[in-house]
Symmetry: C2
Subunit: 195 residues, 2 copies
C-alpha cells in the first residue's frame, strides 16, 4: 500500500471479526516497529504478543473508565477487546531514551527537560505498527487508558520496564470513521508560534 | 512509495544540500502529521515551519552537547543544522492528551500513571512526517537534545504549550546508514514478558 494512502485511510477500529490473524502478518507489524528511529538508537521498545484467551481477558479488565463531569463511561475501546484474536502490549525499558551516556551513581542523567523519552520513542514504533497492520488489512486502536501497573503484573514485566500502550489486532468488522482533523491553518505557523 | 519500503529505507540524515524545499512537499508532510491518531482526538501537536535564516541559526545554537563520562561531545545532529533550508519545530498543547473529560479546578485530571500523553501523541505525528518526507526524497533527523525552553522563547511559544522536538528538512547529501537494530527475538515475547 502507498504510504500516503496508508496514513490517510488508517482508522481506529473498535469492533473486530473473530477471524484468526496470520503469524506472518504479525511479524511484519513487529518488524515495522523495529525499524522506527529512536534516541541514540536505544530502541527501548519491547512487544508482548498476547493470544492466550485468559491473558487477553485479564488485560481487557484493566481498561479504565473515563470520568465525565457527572458520570463515568466505559473506555470507548472496551468493545474492541472482546474476542479480538490478538492484543499487542508495548512496553519500554526506562532510563535509556533521553539519557546521555553518563549515568553517575547508576542513575540515568537525562539530557532534556522532558526526562525519559520512552513515551516518544515507543510512539514512533507504534505508528509504524498501526500503519503496517492497516496496509495488511488489519485494524488496530491505540489504547492508553488502562491500568498499566496491573498489566505489568499480568505480564510479569520486570523492574526497569513499563507497560506503555496496547492495541487489539484483528480483521475490522466495520470501516471506521475519521474523526474530524484540525485544519492546517489551525496547527501550523511560520517562523514564530501562531504566526 | 510503498509503506514498507518507506519504513525500512528511511534514514536519519545529518548532512543536507542547500537546494530549496518546495512548499507543496512541506504541506504534504504537515498533512501526514495531521492524520495521525491521538488521545481522544485531542490533536495536541502544533508545527512551526522555520525558513528564516536568523531564526534557524538561533535554534541551531540550542542543540545540547552530549555528556560522555569523561568529556562533552557535540550533538551528532549539529552538522545537519548548517544551511538546511527548513527546520520544523513540533510543539504540543499540554493538559489535553492523557486527560479525562473532567478538569476539576481548571487542572487536567490525567487518566494514567503516565500523566500528560503529549510526548506520545506528538511522536505519532512525527513518525508520519518523517516517512512523508522520505517518500518525497527529503531527509530528516529527529532531534530531542536541544534547549527546549530556549526554543520556546525564540519562537514565542505561549504558556500552555511546550516545544518537544524538531527536525531539519532538506535534500540529503548522503544516503545515510542504518544503525543496527535488535533482532525480533530480543524484543518480542509471547503472552508474558520475556517468554
Amino acid at each position: 500500500m502507498d504510504l500516503f494512502e496508508a496514513i490517510k485511510s488508517r482508522r481506529s477500529i473498535r469492533r473486530y471479526k473473530t477471524d484468526p490473524v496470520d503469524d506472518k502478518k504479525i511479524e511484519t507489524i513487529l518488524d515495522a516497529g523495529r525499524w522506527a528511529p529512536s534516541w541514540g538508537n536505544t530502541q527501548c521498545w519491547r512487544f508482548v504478543v498476547v493470544r492466550d484467551a485468559a491473558v487477553k481477558a485479564k488485560i481487557a479488565d484493566t481498561l479504565k473508565k473515563i470520568k465525565l463531569p457527572d458520570k463515568e463511561v466505559p473506555n470507548p475501546a472496551s468493545g474492541a477487546m472482546n474476542n479480538v484474536p490478538v492484543i499487542i502490549v508495548v512496553c519500554a525499558r526506562i532510563g535509556s531514551a533521553g539519557a546521555g551516556h553518563g549515568t553517575p551513581g547508576g542513575k540515568p542523567e537525562y539530557v532534556t527537560d522532558k526526562g525519559d523519552w520512552f513515551m516518544f520513542d515507543v510512539a514512533l514504533a507504534v505508528q509504524n505498527m498501526v500503519l503496517a497492520a492497516h496496509a495488511q488489512g488489519l485494524g488496530t486502536v491505540i489504547i492508553g487508558a488502562f491500568d498499566a501497573p496491573q498489566v505489568e503484573k499480568i505480564l510479569n514485566v520486570p523492574e526497569g520496564y513499563r507497560a506503555v500502550t496496547l492495541f487489539p489486532l484483528g480483521v475490522p468488522e466495520h470501516e471506521g470513521k475519521a474523526p474530524p482533523r484540525k485544519e492546517l491553518s489551525e496547527i501550523v505557523s511560520k517562523d514564530s508560534f501562531g504566526k
